[in-house]
């Protein structure tokens, strides 16, 4: 009994010693990553794998929006800003005033495909038509030259970055603060896979998802900015060439040329493994 107690006491002391001395011995470095909510999960996924390779680096990834991330970078309160847009003129001025040199890395692309059932005769739509469909103003395929059947709108849940992107870029035509909303009758599906399944089974459905989900079970709709402009199918090339209208580049920003572990992290994001993670998170890899 006594021996056991003594052994426990030593064990506890040892544990305490480990807790107290480990940080000093291992020299833990921290990377603060902040910004776009769309990219939070991507950043998190990178961080997890990167951490296995560099166990002494502590990475904190937080969201809040691209603007939040850029502001934090300009204030020096984060090391890497994730952003789904370029710097605005105002931000560039502010950076100059503060002596900060935002360095841009286009690290991935985000393209959203609009899909219908393979038997749906419709093959192309303009952004305005999409907007009218998803707002519930066009309710029948006949209006668009299809069969006389009610349109079933499929959307992602409110928490999805894809939902927000589609709302801002299609429904609100690029004005994120606009008053327009998805039709309340839109079915909110729990995952992109659920949208893929329902579109594959339902000839009345129209839905959208990240390009990673495109398969032969759905028909991808070509999208044009206006009726006169060219209709473009979302594909790696068209998203990379920025001709597909519902797409955007995703950026990492650092202050000046990245150094040390921050450079390691940015390099990792561009490595084949990092780009593979991009694909797994349903974005388009840049390389």
């Amino acid at each position: 009994m006594k021996g056991l107690r003594r052994r426990m006491a030593w064990g506890t002391a040892g544990l305490l010693a480990m807790i107290v001395f480990t940080p000093a011995a291992g020299q833990v470095k921290t990377i603060q990553i902040k910004g776009s909510d769309t990219m939070v999960n991507l950043g998190q996924a990178w961080a997890e794998v990167f951490n296995k390779r560099h166990p002494n680096v502590n990475i904190a990834v937080t969201g809040g929006g691209s603007g939040t991330g850029i502001t934090a970078l300009l204030n020096g309160s984060c090391d890497i800003a994730e952003s789904s847009r370029l710097l605005e003129a105002k931000e560039i001025e502010k950076a100059k005033a503060k002596g900060i040199v935002p360095t841009e890395f286009k690290v991935a692309l985000d393209g959203i495909a609009v899909v219908v059932h393979p038997k749906n005769p419709l093959g192309k739509l303009t952004i305005d038509q999409l907007r009218e469909i998803f707002m519930g103003n066009i309710t029948d395929w006949k209006t668009l030259g299809g069969p006389k059947k009610a349109i079933v709108i499929l959307s992602r849940e409110f928490n999805s970055g894809t939902h927000i992107f589609f709302k801002e870029h299609v429904i609100r035509r690029g004005n994120p603060k606009g008053p327009e909303e998805f039709s309340p009758a839109a079915l909110l599906m729990p995952s992109s896979q659920a949208i893929a399944d329902e579109v594959a089974n339902n000839e009345n459905a129209i839905g959208y998802y990240g390009m990673g989900y495109i398969s032969a079970r759905q028909k991808v709709v070509a999208v044009a900015v206006e009726a006169k402009s060219p209709y473009v199918i979302p594909a790696l090339e068209s998203v990379r060439a920025n001709t597909y209208p519902i797409s955007r580049p995703l950026y990492l920003y650092t202050n000046g040329k990245p150094q040390g572990v921050i450079k390691d992290f940015v390099d990792f994001a561009f490595s084949p493994e990092g780009q593979d993670i991009v694909r797994k998170m349903d974005f388009v890899p840049i390389k």
Partner: protein, 291 residues
């Protein structure tokens, strides 16, 4: 001898603590819900929250009306109950009074298996088989409807309704049945004139507990009802339930935002409704016992 009283004292207290624990947990859960959910009413009046017709929680400014969600939950539950209660009660009568002994044992164990199927599995089966079926039969634009949810939930409520109703029927004193038969009533007359009256409070309690089960169910409903936050006009339209809303949105709601506290406030609404259902069921169960 003293050691024995001490031992009994300790055991008694431990049992008391275990008994009290569940009350404490319920109280803590309710306090937590209140604490997290109440702040939504600083931004939106309770009337506008409960009666608002639009649910756009992540817009700026957010629209936090949960009327479509409440109606969605009620509609799906009502549909499930209309299906499950008559079927469940009839099945309970068959098992308790009509079925031969061997068949009765088999039926009871099969019903237990039905109760053990995880709801996500039922939801998945419903999504693959039931949803396309409903779409084709009724010629609907989509099969993801309240009706699909009701049917799946009816399956889930059946085991509860059957086993509790069956207990209630078995609890009817034998003398009633023997008296009725001795007076020359047929088996069927005994069943629906005598036994059903004796078992009624228990059967109502069974139905109420079934309703509680259905109302709180999340996963299967989320998979088959389409989750569109519109005020439902019929069972053949998509609906969004209270439970599915919490499950779908809680993962990414920003802590402390009005969306976050609105989801907790939905939790309060759910809690109150389930509480009311259970209290009613309890009242009926107790009335049955007193007789």
């Amino acid at each position: 001898m003293r050691l024995r009283t001490l031992k009994e004292f300790v055991i008694e207290k431990l049992v008391f603590l275990s008994g009290i624990a569940s009350i404490v947990f319920v109280a803590l859960i309710f306090i937590f819900l209140l604490k997290e959910g109440i702040s939504v009413f600083r931004e939106i009046a309770p009337g506008a929250f409960l009666g608002g017709k639009f649910w756009y929680p992540v817009s700026d400014p957010p629209k936090l009306g949960i009327l479509p969600l409440i109606l969605g939950s009620l509609l799906v539950t009502a549909g499930a109950i209309v299906l499950a209660v008559p079927l469940g009660i009839a099945a309970a009568f068959y098992i308790a009074e009509v079925a031969p002994r061997r068949l009765r044992d088999i039926l009871k164990s099969i019903i237990e298996i039905l109760a053990a199927i995880p709801s996500v599995v039922l939801g998945f089966i419903g999504m693959i088989t039931l949803v396309p079926y409903i779409k084709n039969i009724f010629g609907l634009p989509t099969g993801l409807t309240a009706a699909a949810g009701s049917i799946m939930l009816a399956f889930m409520a059946l085991p509860t309704i059957i086993s509790i109703s069956e207990d209630a029927i078995n609890a009817v004193p034998r003398e009633y049945k023997e008296g009725a038969l001795a007076l020359g009533a047929t088996h069927w007359q005994t069943l629906y004139r005598v036994i059903i009256h004796g078992a009624l409070p228990g059967i109502i309690a069974a139905a109420m507990l079934g309703i509680g089960r259905v109302f709180g169910e999340t996963m299967a409903v989320m998979m088959v009802t389409g989750n569109a936050a519109v005020i439902p006009k019929s069972l053949l339209r998509p609906v969004r339930t209270l439970t599915a809303t919490i499950a779908a949105e809680m993962g990414e709601a920003v802590r402390g935002s009005s969306h976050y506290s609105a989801l907790f406030a939905i939790g309060i609404v759910l809690f109150l409704i389930s509480f009311a259902i259970n209290v009613t069921a309890d009242a009926f169960l107790n009335r049955g016992k007193r007789k």
